[in-house]
């Protein structure tokens, strides 16, 4: 079992919910209690709301996602950015001048080397690291040892050694250290965990979970050099890259990243651990470089382009099996997570348009959960949104042939489940509440405020990376308790 205490601060994030949700949450209900608790905790530290000078290291797609998401977080002042590629620098600079201009005073200082940036910008309090995975560990350590607070993207590292070093660096230094598993701060996910899944709540005993992230070949295609924005080889070499192709496509290579299972799966496999406050006892995994194998003009992945994993958890209520798949050959059904209990099933995704369904098993009465000023669930507004998963079907007990027309229902088919939706919507980017949680923790110098500290993220890193061992061995990996000890 995971001994990590549950974070307890969803309510400050409620400002990111839609207006109706915000008003309801502020009024009463269990979320209102969270709000009071959190405000009390912050008040003790006496410095909420102060401005934190921040730097962005790694200005590619993920770095820009953080920048964009940060624009709705109060208390951030961007002062510097760091990247070795002028294209990323230019793009990010434009974003700071545009979307984030309210968070910039004067100019953003640009650096190619993180050490130079930290030396020349002593006022930086927090560093956001969104580099390729292999730099997460060394860069986090550099920042922490210089007294900075760190928000580092997931997955922590492409190696367990790197992840362990991050935990040690976090313990050895006083800085606030958040890992970017942003679902931990998302009010929609907190609602699911706290009001729907927790033992004794709506879904009953959870026996199975499922998650997938299917991204088609176009989203997985290799990135090429960009006209007018070459990088000298000596600069690439200095920063650990073998070539411009490796720099642009680092996710394909073991040396730099963890492949699709890490890039995409780390978010969702982490959800298994987080939702059930547990770590798995075993994993069965299959996958390989089956399509992006370098043949017929296709790029060559070094890491599996598809993985299918089955994790077994031993929860206090009993066994829970969680299946995960990541495919890069189809975008079919996209990305979502599914939690299946004997009382009902929940489907969730970061975008509520992709996953926001609840289904009550026959005999379950969820009407009471939809009452009050800010209920956890509401009646499904649009059955079309439920797509194929649990499509509405007329169900009638088959009549004997002597009754005339025979029901279309098969006697072995279950009755359709009643349909509901989670009653929380985000009005900001999915990363925004998580960044806000980090900034609040920095402002108040309160590591306990974090929703995803480095110890919790380490367990997810182990859960993900050990699937490769199972796959390489052609079978099953049995987790040892010490695997989860940093």
């Amino acid at each position: 079992m995971n001994s990590q205490p549950l974070p307890s601060s969803p309510a400050p994030l409620s400002r990111f919910m839609d207006r109706r949700g915000f008003l309801r949450t502020s009024a009463l209900t269990s979320s209102g209690i969270y709000l009071a608790t959190s405000k009390g905790a912050i008040a003790q530290q006496s410095a909420p709301g102060r401005t934190i000078k921040c730097a962005l290291v790694g200005c590619g797609a993920q770095g820009n996602a953080l920048r964009v998401a940060s624009k709705d977080v109060p208390g951030i002042q961007w002062v510097a950015m760091c990247d070795i590629w002028k294209f990323s620098i230019a793009k990010t600079r434009g974003g700071f001048l545009g979307e984030n201009k309210h968070q910039v005073e004067g100019q953003i200082n640009i650096y190619e080397d993180i050490n130079e940036m930290l030396d020349k910008e002593p006022s930086i309090e927090a560093v956001f690291i969104a580099t390729p995975d292999f730099l997460h560990a060394p860069y986090s350590r550099i920042c922490l040892e210089k007294g900075k607070n760190v928000y580092c993207e997931k997955m922590m590292s492409n190696t367990l050694e790197g992840a362990r070093d991050m935990v040690r660096a976090g313990k050895a230094n006083p800085g606030i250290f958040q890992i970017g598993h942003q679902r931990h701060s998302n009010p929609r996910y907190l609602n699911l965990r706290d009001n729907v899944i927790k033992p004794g709540k709506m879904l009953g005993r959870i026996t199975h979970a499922y998650a997938q992230w299917n991204r088609g070949v176009s989203g997985s295609a290799p990135q090429g050099a960009v006209k007018g924005y070459d990088i000298p080889q000596e600069l690439l070499t200095k920063h650990g890259y073998g070539s411009i192709e490796e720099f642009r496509n680092w996710r394909f290579f073991k040396k730099y990243g963890g492949g699709p299972l890490s890039d995409l799966g780390a978010h969702q496999i982490d959800m298994f651990n987080w939702m059930y406050e547990s770590t798995p006892v075993s994993v069965i995994a299959s996958g390989g470089v089956d399509y992006f194998d370098g043949s017929e003009g296709r790029p060559k992945f070094e890491l599996p382009d598809n993985m299918m994993c089955i994790y077994e958890f031993k929860t206090p209520a009993g066994a829970l099996r969680a299946y995960y798949q990541v495919l890069t050959t189809t975008g079919s059904q996209g990305a979502y997570e599914k939690h299946m209990g004997i009382g009902g099933t929940a489907i969730i995704s970061e975008l509520d348009t992709n996953g926001n369904q609840l289904y009550a098993e026959p005999g379950q009465d969820w009407e009471a959960y939809a009452l009050g000023d800010n209920p956890a669930i509401v009646k499904a507004a649009d059955k079309a949104k439920n797509k194929f998963w649990e499509h509405p079907r007329d169900w009638e007990k088959p009549k004997p042939p002597s009754y005339g027309a025979v029901s279309v229902a098969d006697a072995r088919e279950s009755k359709a489940l009643s349909q509901w939706e989670l009653n929380r919507k985000l009005k900001v980017k999915p990363h925004t509440p998580h960044i806000a949680n980090f900034i609040e923790a920095v402002q108040t110098k309160n590591p306990a405020h974090l929703t995803c500290n480095v110890e919790a993220a380490f367990k997810s890193c182990v859960t993900v990376l050990k699937a490769y061992e199972a796959q390489a061995q052609g079978g099953k990996y049995i987790f040892k308790p010490e695997d989860f000890q940093a």
Binding site: G95, G98, K101, S218, A225, V226, K227, G228, L351
Partner: protein, 240 residues
């Protein structure tokens, strides 16, 4: 330009766009000429060359009151123009309200490459910005094809396309396209739709208007505040 617009604020001219039968107000161009008639004589077909489609990522829902519903059947794949018509913009000099673009060079606007990949577009500063093409001499302009950034599904805001013989666009300005539905840019309300960018770009009917300069405005897009151009093609013939 802002000063110019203030000076001209009171001068409103109703301009009838013959081809679409729409009435449009314009404040720019005190002495704007009436739109020229549709080109006469023998017309030839020029097929437009489209770059490859490049949608990636999760589309951000574009929400604009004048956003048109996408209709692939209405994509303009070729244009009918008088004989001798060519893309007069190719390789011509481009200037901009942002002399130091965020990404790329201004010459990417007229380099003949409408591709949406990184390295093929110019990104201008946030807010209201323009790019301007100098055709080198006065021309009969029949069609203008434009490609903003089409790698993501987004619509550009307050798109205005104008032509003039005045490089300052103070006099003799003809507005050929205007999707500024609420007159944010103070150049008159436009009735043209906003649209989600694709590799097909958008073709503007210039109706043979005589002009040397082409200016294209935008005011950010539905994903962010930036302004992008992959390519602008100006189909016409020299006026002299």
């Amino acid at each position: 330009m802002k000063n110019t617009l203030h000076i001209l604020t009171g001068l409103t001219l109703a301009l009838t766009l013959a081809s679409c039968g729409k009435k449009e107000e314009t404040k720019a161009g005190a002495a704007a000429p009436a739109a020229a008639a549709a080109p006469a004589g023998d017309l030839v077909e020029i097929k437009l060359e489209f770059p490859k489609p490049m949608f990636i990522g999760t589309p951000v829902p574009a929400e604009l009151p004048n956003l048109e519903k996408a209709d692939p059947s209405k994509v303009v794949k070729s244009i009918m123009v008088p004989k001798g018509t060519t893309n007069l913009a190719k390789g011509k000099k481009v200037t901009s309200s942002d002399a130091a673009p965020i990404i790329g060079d201004l010459n990417l606007v007229t380099d003949g490459d409408a591709d949406g990949a990184d390295g093929s577009f110019v990104e201008l500063m946030p807010g209201k910005q323009w790019v301007q093409i100098d055709l080198g001499e006065e021309a009969n302009i029949y069609k203008i094809a434009m490609w903003h950034y089409h790698k993501q599904a987004q619509a550009y805001i307050d798109v205005v396309v104008q032509v003039s013989d005045d490089p300052e666009f103070k006099n003799g300005v003809t507005t050929l396209w205007n999707s500024d539905h609420d007159d944010t840019s103070a150049m008159g309300k436009g009735s043209d739709p906003a649209y989600v960018e694709t590799n097909h770009g958008r073709v503007v009917d210039a109706k043979g208007t005589k002009a040397r300069y082409v200016r294209l405005w935008s005011n950010g897009n539905t994903s962010n505040d930036m302004n992008h151009y992959c390519e602008v093609e100006v189909f016409g013939t020299p006026a002299k």
